[in-house]
Every structure is written in C-alpha cells, then in structure tokens.
C-alpha cells in the first residue's frame, strides 16, 4: 500500500486512542481532585497530566492557575492545545479524509458524526450536563470507532497499520498514566488512611482495569497494580501486552523488518525485568527509558515502511 496512506492510518489509530485516553486521564484526575486535599496537592494533581515542561509552560501562558475549570477547558476543547481531545479528533478526521479510499463508509461516518457532535459542544454545555457526560461520550465514540473498524475493515496492510498506531499509542498512554503516580507505587509510601483504596480504585478505572484487577488480585495493593499495568499480558493496556501486540503486527507486516526485531527485544526486556527492583530504584527512570524506546521504535517503523521521506 501507499506509504503515505499507511502513515495516515497509523495516525488515525493513534489519535482516536489518544482522545480516549485523555478522556480517561481527565476523568480519573477529576475524581481525585474532588477529595479533600490542599490547594498545592490539587494543582500538583492536574500538573501531572502534562507530559513535559513545555506543555506546562504552554498552559501557564493561557491560564494563571491549575484550577479544575481551566485545566479541563484546556484539555478538552481548546483548539490551540494540540493534544486536547478536540484537536485529537480533528487530527483523526483529517487522517480519515486523507486515507478515505482505504476506509469503509461506516468508518468515515463514525468519525464524521463524532466531529459534527464535538463541534456543537462548548464549555457551557459541558458545565450544564457535567464533565462526566462529555468524557463518557468521547470514550463511547472511541470504542464505537474501534468496533466499527474491527467489524467492517478488510484485513490486510491498511488494517494492520491502524492497529499498529492504536497499540503503540496505548503503550505510551499507559506509561503516561503510571507516571502520574510513579512516586506512590512503593509499599513504603502506602498511606493507611482510607484514601488509598479510593486513589487506587480511581487509578485502575482510568486504565479500564478496575474490575479485572478485583477478579485477579482481590485486595488493592500498589505493587499488584504496577504488575498488572506493566507485565500482565491479559490486560490489553499493560505495557507488555501493547508491545507484544506491536511485535505481532510488525511481524505480520514484514517478518524481517528491523522494527519487528526491535519491538521483540523491548518485549523481552520487560518480561525479564524484576518488578521489585524497579520499584525500589524508582519507576520514573524505568518509564522514561520505556518511552524513549517506544519513540525509537516508532521512528524505526516509519523508516522501514517508507513513511518518512
């Protein structure tokens, strides 16, 4: 298939997944912000949703304080914030248009309908109906979109590139989610104050993994949470599951591609790592390293399939 179209489908997968993950991250943080906490803790909570110093800077330029209202506005509908849900969906639609000839009518319709709907929504309406309502809509539409792709799209290269984008985005987002709590996983940081249950419960819900956790592990325990989101391959959003999916897709695309080998190596590293050691030496450096490797992998993918010129 055309390399440019492969690129469009890859990004289509990424942007829809990103919109959904943003919705879940905001959802989780919003719930946490409703707990009785100090203003500093409150600001810190929201600040963690930003991935880099530059992102924080861009936010501070527009809004003096990390209030619920300012942050939710910025992360949901702000057309100037390139990673807002609005912009993710705009980019998804743009890529849908560019790759239109490879997509089914049902897929285009799904994206168009979502785009028509989100453009009709403003902050007043979000306040009126509640943030939850808006975030649920985004999650629902993302799931609908993925369902439509799975059930209507011909299997083959175009489908695989879409799946690839989705899997890699998922890996990045899970690592981002874990990063928001990176300092509180170690058992030594456990607070036996009733908050813990609520905090980890909310956290797991943001990963769509709460009920799965209860079924597998039972009691809430931060080390188990880390294990589940990092190495448990039965959880579709765990880092290892995402990288294994990526490896499978790349091998199907081209078995001997350097990126396939790279992805396989990354999966092997995660499998071989000792979680207790990682937790002791700090999750943050592990996650930073993981993200660096995912970036290198996505560069390699683009090089291998001529997606960059």
């Amino acid at each position: 298939m055309l390399s440019r179209t492969a690129d469009n489908l890859y990004w289509l997968g990424r942007y829809v997944e990103r919109a959904e993950n943003n919705a879940r991250l905001i959802d989780g943080t919003y719930h946490m912000s409703l707990l009785p906490i100090t203003p500093d803790e409150h600001a810190e909570l929201w600040r963690k949703l930003f991935q880099s110093a530059e992102e924080i800077e861009a936010f501070v330029e527009k809004h003096p304080e990390f209030t619920n209202d300012a942050v939710t506005r910025y992360l949901t509908l702000d057309p100037d914030n390139r990673s807002s849900i609005f912009c993710c969906l705009e980019a998804a639609r743009d890529n849908t248009r560019a790759a239109r000839a490879e997509l089914t009518t049902e897929i285009s319709q799904c994206i168009n309908q979502t785009w028509i709907d989100i453009r009709a929504i403003d902050m007043d309406r979000i306040h009126e109906r509640g943030l939850q309502d808006f975030l649920d809509l985004i999650k629902e539409r993302a799931h609908l979109f993925q369902g439509v792709v799975y059930s209507t799209m011909r299997r083959g290269e175009p489908f695989l590139f879409w799946e690839l984008g989705t899997a890699l985005e998922r890996a990045e987002n899970t690592s981002r989610l874990i990063m928001t709590r990176a300092d509180s996983f170690h058992r030594a940081h456990r607070r036996d104050d009733g908050f813990d249950f609520y905090r980890w419960g909310t956290f797991l819900r943001s990963a769509n993994a709460y009920s799965a956790y209860r079924q597998i592990y039972g009691d809430i325990d931060s080390v188990c949470v880390a294990e589940m989101l990092i190495t448990n391959t039965n959880i579709p959003r765990s880092l290892l599951a995402c990288i294994e999916d990526t490896t499978d897709i790349l091998k199907t695309l081209r078995r001997e591609a350097p990126c396939a080998e790279m992805s396989e190596r990354l999966a092997a590293e995660i499998r071989a790592m000792r979680l207790d050691q990682v937790l002791r030496s700090g999750l943050e450096s592990f996650l930073n390293d993981f993200r660096k490797q995912v970036h290198a992998l996505s560069d390699q993918i683009r090089a291998d399939f001529m997606m960059v010129r």
């Binding site: 440019r4 560019a98 319709q109 168009n112 399939f305 001529m306």
Partner: protein, 478 residues
Amino acid sequence: MANSDEHETPKPFDEMLEPDGTVRMAYAQYGEWLQGVSKETLIRKDEQADMMFRRLGITFTVYGDAESTERMIPFDIIPRIIDPNEWDYLSRGAIQRVDAINAFLDDVYHDQAILKAGRIPPELVLNNDAFRPEMLDLDLPRRIYGHIAGVDLVRTGAREFYVLEDNVRTPSGVSYMLENRQTMMRLFPELFATNHVAPIGRYATELRNNLQSVAPIGVDEPTIVLLTPGRFNSAYFEHAFLATEMGVRLVEGQDLFVDEGFVFMRTTEGPKRVDVIYRRIDDDFIDPLAFRPESMLGVPGLLSVVRRGRVTLANAIGSGVADDKAMYVYVPEMIRFYLGEEPILQNVPTYSLRNPDDYKYVLEHLEELVVKEVHGSGGYGMLVGPKSTKAEREAYAERLKAEPEAFIAQPTLSLSTCPTWVDEGVAPRHVDLRPFVLSGRRTTVMPGGLTRVALKEGSLVVNSSQGGGTKDTWVLER
C-alpha cells in the same frame, strides 16, 4: 399560488408540466406520487438527506472564504426526469461532440489538418495557453485525449437543447451523480419500484476498463492510480470516492516519483511502477519541471515519461485547448470536419469579443447578455445581464474594453425549470445537465448525469460555488 414570474416573458420550459398544467409523460408516475405525499413527509426526507450527506462527509471547498471553507452542496430531493427518447437524442449528441473533440486534439498535436484547411483560425489554437507544444507528434494510446468529458447542456424548449460548454480537462461532479442516486434509493425505495430508472452504478467499472484499455503498449495488467491535489482540494471527496469505487490507489504528487524513465509510487514494500494516471490536477501543476516550477502538487519529470509512452495520463496533457470558451464556437465545425456529420446538439450563439462587430454589439446589449471569461470556470467572474445592476454593467464594461479577447457573450437563455423543494414548498427552479462521456474502447455516456439547480428564485446560475444545488437525474427506460 402567486406567480412571481408574471412580468417575465416568455415563461420558461417546465420539465414536469405542459403549459396547460398537465403532467408530462416522463413525470406521470412521479407526479402522481408527489401529489399524494404530505408536506411533513417531504420535510422529514429533506432532513434525512441532509444528515446522510453530512455523515458521509460529502463537502466541497469554497475558495476565498475563510469562515467556512467546507460546505455541502445542497441536495434537492425531487428528481429531474428524462424521457427515453430525449435521452437517446441527448446521448448521441454528447458522444458525437466528444468524438469530434478527441479527433480535433489528435489532429492539432499532429498534422493540424483543420488549421491548414482554414476551418479554425490557427492563432486561436497555437497561441492558446492550454495548447501544449510539448505534446506535439506524440501518439497516444487509441488516440484519445479526453477520456472523461462532461458536456454541459441546458434546455429552453421541448426539443431545444443547447450545449453550454464542453469540459475535457478534469471535469468533476460524477460523485454527486452517483451519491445522489444512492441517497434517493435510500430515501424513496418505493419510487424505484414503480419508475423504471436506468441504473448508473457501473460508471466506475466502465471508467476503470477504459483506463485499462489505454495503458502503455505492452502493459497487460496496468497499475492505475487516481492523482489528487490532496484533501484540501474542493473535489477531494470525489477523488476518494472514485478511487474506492474503481479499486485503485488514491495518490498525491508526493507519493509518486520519476526514476529511470518510469513513474513509481512509494509503497510500504518499496517503489511500485505506475502505468495509468487518472489525474485530477490541472496541466499547469502536474509537472514542475515542465510547467509551473513552483507547483508542489505535481510530479517532477512526469511529462518526460509521458513523452516516452511509458505512462498514460487521463485526461491527456493539452486537452484543455479543445474546451475553452473561444474554441467552443468551432466544435460544430470539428464535427463536420472530422466526422462528416451535422451536429446533433446546438451551440448557443456566441459573440467573441475579439471580433470587432461582436465587440460593438455586446457593449451595446450588455443588459440582455451573459458575458463570461474565456478561461474562467465555476461561474466565477461572469455577468448575467438581465440580473445585473447598472453599476455592475459599467464596471464590467471597463474590463471588456481593457481585454476584449478574454471574453465571450451569449444571449441569456431561458433555462428550463424543474420542480424543486424549497422553503415555501415545491416550486420551479432553473436547471442544467452535465452528462459524463467516457472514451476508451468505445465512447459511452452513463444514462443520467449531474443536474444542477439554481436554488434562488429566478436565478440562472447553477454553479455550486454560487449557491446552486444538485438533483438526482433519472433517465427512464423504455
């Protein structure tokens, strides 16, 4: 019902009703249905149609409009219906025209017999911007230049059809013809059970077969692509739609490159050779090495591959010399010269302002005439005399005086009207018709076409950029 046309003479030809108010044959079944249907039903169907088009994302871009660059062409839920006899005559006329135009193009890029015979002033061809000397003495597969053509027709009476213009560059609108039909079949399935409407669904297959038939010599299973300027182009939806329907790749200039005398596309498995390009990019932009150097849309070196006969472009580079408004006057002459036949379809009498007598006449009769730019399209930059103000005419006259050869003028035709769904209910609105003619192994025309409708009461301008809409076009089977 109040008749706002009372002071206008004569009353335009109504596609559905005889002057005495009886329903014409072609509309007999439909008219009966329309009488019985409630206003509420039509309102609901209209809303459904609107939503269907929005969800499909069928939009076009209005240039020079920063506010809303993406708009939908309004779709009218009342079809335009054509009688089988009328269609027989129209389709033969359209095919005849396109055959003559293809013969003309082959001639002007080879022997130029028609110029030597003095039937067309040579300077009109040779000094024309759309004439491409780069194409001289090049033998194209099947000698076809305009593989896809749109012939714009208007009607003024029962047997009076006029050709308004020929489009043999990159005519658009066929996706609307096809989507309008899809939409009508979903909205009104019962009407298709009672009316015998000729199907048009095989358009893409026929186009693909034709493109296959003009592949470079020796290529049995050609790789065909559709080349689009990209998703910001006004007709992008159509490009994507046709690529999907034909099952070919939709490519942009950046996806193609020329190497070792061939054209390749960049694929995930490496470069892949391309043999036939259905291009929707104008000549000027198609090859920055040969034409406009600043073009980012085209493929550098493409012309050199065309010259070697290793890739076929549809339509061919240089086709535009046949369809400009100055050349239009000579199409009947082409028909006589190449086919030895009399034209089936008539031209609109046309004044060329390069001609001093015509120039004088036009300036004196601006109020009655429609004046167009020779190189214009899309209804931009035209003056509709009877609908213009004095100030507009005066300003326009200045432009005519400055550059007479850039304009032609025609009498204002009383375009036929077709019942149309508007705010007040069903009312007559002016329409035109663009059938699509395909050339390959043979020349064919789909039974249907794009009917454009001027939605504003009394307006004669049907272009989508100027507030026009579209209708499904039914050709009834015998």
